[in-house]
């Protein structure tokens, strides 16, 4: 089966500044592939190269089997692109915008109107189909921009920072749309700097820092890379100020730290640790309120693999 995207040693240099530094990766057909990284990592540059808006200075890439250097027009017929900016035409209505897209992609006359109306219904915009794009809310503009990229029934959809600037409800709705696209068999390649978003949506994630891919794998495997020692977190019904010190003495060799009114214990045999906790609670006349095992998050994996703070990502682009 042809890979949806095959990238080999792709590089891009602007005036001596390296934006993309010899990256290689493959995207399986039908997958949701996330390109995760902070601003300036090279995410948008990569999308621009793969969609023919920019030319690479090194390496090669094939999109849906087409060489982007020599067959980009053929490739464009088979993929859709949702740019970071919702750049439809303010002066045209939602319906007119979609019909224009259908015309550009060469859809036959009766079909592009039917398709446009179907998409407006799918994206909950049918009631506003005759309103000018300029009058749409930010979420509606985003939805129409995605609908426009789907008019010609692409097999692959590129989305550049799809949820940037959206409120929580609109972002959630958009994530549901991406899941539906995957269910319908469309390959989705999207860039984001929202760790949670990538974790929820992606089959595979590439972590990109300063133009280089530092890790590429499934979210579960990336998180496993961050897992060094299992950790338990416990809280008691009665706050015990010396619990961390006391449990540390009872569990030699383990790291025991207090986090607010909770105690975290890293490593060791779970049975031994639990017995120690229960014994300590009994001796001090209280009970265990809650105990949970801590699994590493994608954030932990990101920190470990990139050496960057997740705050760097959250602070960018009005991060949520």
């Amino acid at each position: 089966m042809i890979k949806a995207i095959e990238v080999s040693s792709l590089g891009k240099t602007y005036d001596g500044v390296v934006a993309v530094d010899g990256i290689s990766f493959e995207v399986e057909a039908g997958d949701v592939f996330g390109f995760l990284g902070p601003n300036g990592a090279g995410k948008t540059t990569t999308i621009r190269i793969l969609t023919g808006l920019s030319k690479p200075t090194a390496g090669s890439a094939r999109v849906l089997g087409y060489d982007i250097a020599s067959e980009i027009i053929k490739a464009k017929k088979a993929f859709g692109v949702v740019p970071e900016q919702s750049n439809m035409y303010d002066e045209l209505s939602g319906l007119e915008n979609l019909i224009f897209m259908g015309q550009l992609y060469g859809m036959p006359r009766p079909e592009h109107r039917t398709r446009a109306e179907d998409l407006l219904k799918t994206f909950g915009l049918f009631e506003r189909k005759d309103s000018k794009f300029a009058t749409y809310s930010r979420g509606m503009k985003r939805a129409l921009t995605i609908a426009a990229a789907l008019v010609h029934k692409p097999r692959l959809l590129f989305l550049d920072e799809p949820t940037v600037g959206l409120d929580v409800v609109a972002a959630r709705s958009l994530r549901a749309i991406i899941k539906r696209l995957k269910e319908s068999g469309i390959t989705v390649f999207f860039t984001t700097h929202y760790l949670e978003e990538a974790d929820i949506l992606c089959d595979c994630i590439a972590l990109l820092v300063k133009g280089k891919i530092v890790a590429i794998d499934t979210p579960a495997r990336l998180k496993a890379m961050a897992e060094e020692k299992p950790a338990l977190e416990v809280s008691f019904k009665k706050p015990l100020t010396k619990a961390a010190d006391e449990l540390g003495r009872r569990l030699p060799g383990l790291a025991v730290v207090r986090v607010d009114d909770r105690i975290r214990i890293y490593g060791g045999d779970v049975d031994i640790v639990l017995n120690a906790i229960l014994g300590y609670a009994r001796e001090n006349g209280t009970q265990v309120a809650a105990v949970s095992s801590l699994k590493p998050s994608l954030e932990d994996a990101f920190v470990k693999l990139t050496g960057l703070s997740p705050l760097v990502m959250a602070a960018e682009k009005g991060g949520r």
Partner: protein, 243 residues
């Protein structure tokens, strides 16, 4: 492939007509400005106005097409919607030609109205329609292409409008719109021969039955030759924005 490009060019021009023809910069520079000049000259000296009509029609071609290029290119460069077109399966030159065609059609509409009103109201009896068409069509394409070439150099609408004014006014004063080029000093006369509006004015003048400085066949050939000479660098400059 070529058919698909042609189809996209047609739809881009159609969309531009629908989207931008009523934009204020298009109306003010493309319609109000040439009409105001024509009225000003008519009110100042109605008796000799007929002599000025060919030059004023040529000026209308120049201003209407270049004003529209500013709108159809720079509005989209600023808003990023030009990229939207480039993401579709159409070549960059196809996108640019669609934009040029949009400006050409706008110019044709305005020029046709001005020409008809002039001919009917002033009672020109010996207008050679074939000559007029042979001169006006390539002229509309030339000045649309010139507008496109200037517009891809800058991003903002006001920058493009300012930049376009330099060649516009240079040509208005040196290409025989108000003063016949035969009356110009030799140095300026040489300059006028490298400016496309000279051939438009001269050709329209001959279409209206007056004597010209250049053979009309040369006017037509020069104008047609200028079209690719302007479109090619415009395409290259636009491509440089997307390297």
């Amino acid at each position: 492939m070529w058919y698909e490009n042609l189809r996209s060019i047609y739809y881009i021009a159609l969309k531009d007509m629908k989207t931008y023809y009523l934009k204020p910069p298009a109306i003010s520079w493309g319609i109000v400005f040439p009409v105001a000049w024509i009225l000003a000259f008519y009110l100042r000296n109605p008796r000799n106005f007929e002599e000025l009509v060919p030059g004023l029609i040529a000026m209308t071609v120049l201003f209407s097409t270049t004003a529209m290029e500013v709108v159809v290119i720079n509005f989209e460069l600023r808003l990023g919607s030009l990229e939207r077109l480039l993401l579709a399966p159409v070549s960059l030159s196809g996108v640019l030609f669609g934009k040029i065609l949009g400006g050409t059609i706008f110019g044709l509409m305005i020029t046709a109205v001005i020409t008809l009103v002039s001919v009917l109201s002033l009672g020109f009896s010996s207008v050679n329609i074939l000559y007029l068409i042979l001169i006006l069509l390539p002229s509309l394409l030339v000045f649309s292409s010139l507008g496109a070439l200037l517009c891809v150099l800058v991003k903002e609408v006001f920058e493009a409008q300012t930049l376009a004014n330099l060649p516009r006014f240079l040509m208005v004063f040196l290409c025989g719109v108000f003063v016949p080029i035969s009356n110009l000093p030799p140095v300026l006369k040489q300059i006028s021969y490298i400016l496309p509006l000279t051939y438009t004015v001269d050709g329209i003048r001959q279409s209206f039955g007056s004597a010209g400085d250049i053979a009309i066949a040369i006017d037509v050939v020069v104008l047609i030759a200028l079209i690719p000479l302007l479109i090619l660098p415009a395409t290259r400059l636009l491509a440089r924005r997307f390297v």
